[in-house]
C-alpha cells in the first residue's frame, strides 16, 4: 500500500526525494501518511482535490482485495 502511494506521489511531484510515506497499521484500518515538499502539496492534492481523491479511490480498491481499510492522509 505504502509503495503504491510512494510510486504515484514520486511521479507527480517536482521534488521526488522529499516524498515520505509512512504506514501506521491498525488491526483493520491502516493509515498512510504522505508528506511532500511544501511546493508540491498542490500537485498531490490537485484541482478541487481530484488527485488526492483519485489516490484514495485506488487505495480503497487495493485494500478491498486485502479485506482491509486504508486511509490516506496528506500531511502538511
Amino acid at each position: 500500500m505504502k509503495e503504491l502511494i510512494r510510486y504515484i506521489a514520486r511521479a507527480l511531484v517536482d521534488n521526488p526525494d522529499a516524498v515520505e510515506v509512512n504506514e501506521i497499521e491498525g488491526e483493520q484500518t491502516s493509515v498512510i501518511e504522505l508528506k511532500v515538499a511544501k511546493e508540491d502539496l498542490g500537485k498531490v492534492i490537485g484541482k478541487q482535490g481530484r488527485t488526492a481523491r483519485s489516490m484514495r479511490t485506488i487505495l480503497s480498491a487495493a485494500s478491498t482485495k486485502l479485506r482491509k481499510r486504508s486511509v490516506l492522509e496528506i500531511i502538511e
Binding site: Y7, I8, R10, S54, M55, T57, K65
Partner: protein
C-alpha cells in the same frame, strides 16, 4: 545529474528497484553495472549485484525538452503490480488514442462502482505521464469492454429521458455524471430534431438536462 547506487540479488533486480524508486522506466536511466553479484554456495560468498544509476537532467536533452516519452503500458503494469491486482495489460491504438486494455481476474475490482476506480487510475496515470513528457498526455484505460458497455448504457439512458421529455414537454435530468459520461449523453442526442441537452451544475460532476426544443413538437405535433 543525481546518482544513486542500487543493490539486488541480480542485476535485473537492482535495475528494477532503481526504476521503481525513481519512478522512471529504464530507458530514461543511465545504468552502469558495478558488480554482477553471485549467489554463492549456501549463502557463502554471496555478493549483491550493484548498479550505479543516474537520471539525466531534462535540460541536458539537446532538443525539444518535451519529447521524452514514458511508456504508458510499463507504468500501468507497475501500478497494477503495486496494487497486487491480477490483470494483464495490452496496448492498442484506437482513433489516434492509445488505449490500454486490461483483463483478468480483478477486472471488477479495477472498474469499481460506476467506473470510479478505473477513472481514478486513468486520471493518475495521465498525470504521471504528462509530468514526464512535459506536455498533456491522454491515454484511455479500458477493461473487458467496460467503456463500450458504459456508452451503450448511457445512450439508452439518453433515449429514455428523451422519450419522457417528448411526452411531457418537461425537462428530465441524468444523475451526476463526469465529463466523459456527459459527452456520451450529448453525442447521443446531438442531432436530435426533438430534444436538446445541456449540462447543469458546477464541479467535476454535473447533471445533463434533456428538454424539448419547442413546446409544440414536444407534444408530438409535427410541422
Amino acid at each position: 545529474m543525481s546518482e544513486s547506487i542500487f543493490e539486488g540479488k541480480t542485476v535485473e533486480e537492482a535495475i528494477a528497484l532503481a526504476c521503481q524508486e525513481l519512478g522512471l522506466p529504464r530507458e530514461h536511466l543511465n545504468i552502469e553495472i558495478i558488480s554482477t553479484g553471485s549467489s554463492g554456495v549456501f549463502g557463502l560468498g554471496l555478493k549483491k549485484a550493484k548498479v550505479r544509476v543516474s537520471v539525466p537532467a531534462p535540460e541536458a536533452q539537446p532538443e525539444e525538452p518535451g519529447t521524452e516519452k514514458a511508456d504508458p503500458k510499463q507504468i500501468l503494469q507497475e501500478l497494477i503490480a503495486l496494487l497486487d491486482f491480477d490483470l494483464t495489460v495490452e496496448s492498442n491504438l484506437e482513433n489516434g488514442f492509445e488505449v490500454l486494455n486490461l483483463r483478468g481476474k480483478d477486472a471488477g475490482l479495477l472498474i469499481g462502482k460506476q467506473g470510479q476506480t478505473i477513472d481514478a487510475l486513468q486520471y493518475l496515470l495521465n498525470k504521471m505521464l504528462s509530468k514526464v513528457a512535459g506536455e498533456k498526455i491522454q491515454v484511455v484505460l479500458d477493461c473487458e469492454g467496460y467503456r463500450e458497455r458504459r456508452k451503450a448504457y448511457l445512450t439508452e439512458m439518453a433515449m429514455r429521458l428523451k422519450e419522457r421529455a417528448q411526452k411531457t414537454g418537461r425537462s428530465f435530468y441524468t444523475d451526476l455524471l463526469n465529463s466523459a459520461d456527459r459527452r456520451a449523453i450529448h453525442l447521443a442526442l446531438q442531432n436530435d430534431p426533438v430534444v436538446k441537452t445541456k449540462s447543469i451544475g458546477d464541479g467535476l460532476l454535473k447533471k445533463v438536462a434533456v428538454y424539448a426544443r419547442e413546446r409544440g413538437k414536444a407534444n408530438g405535433i409535427s410541422r
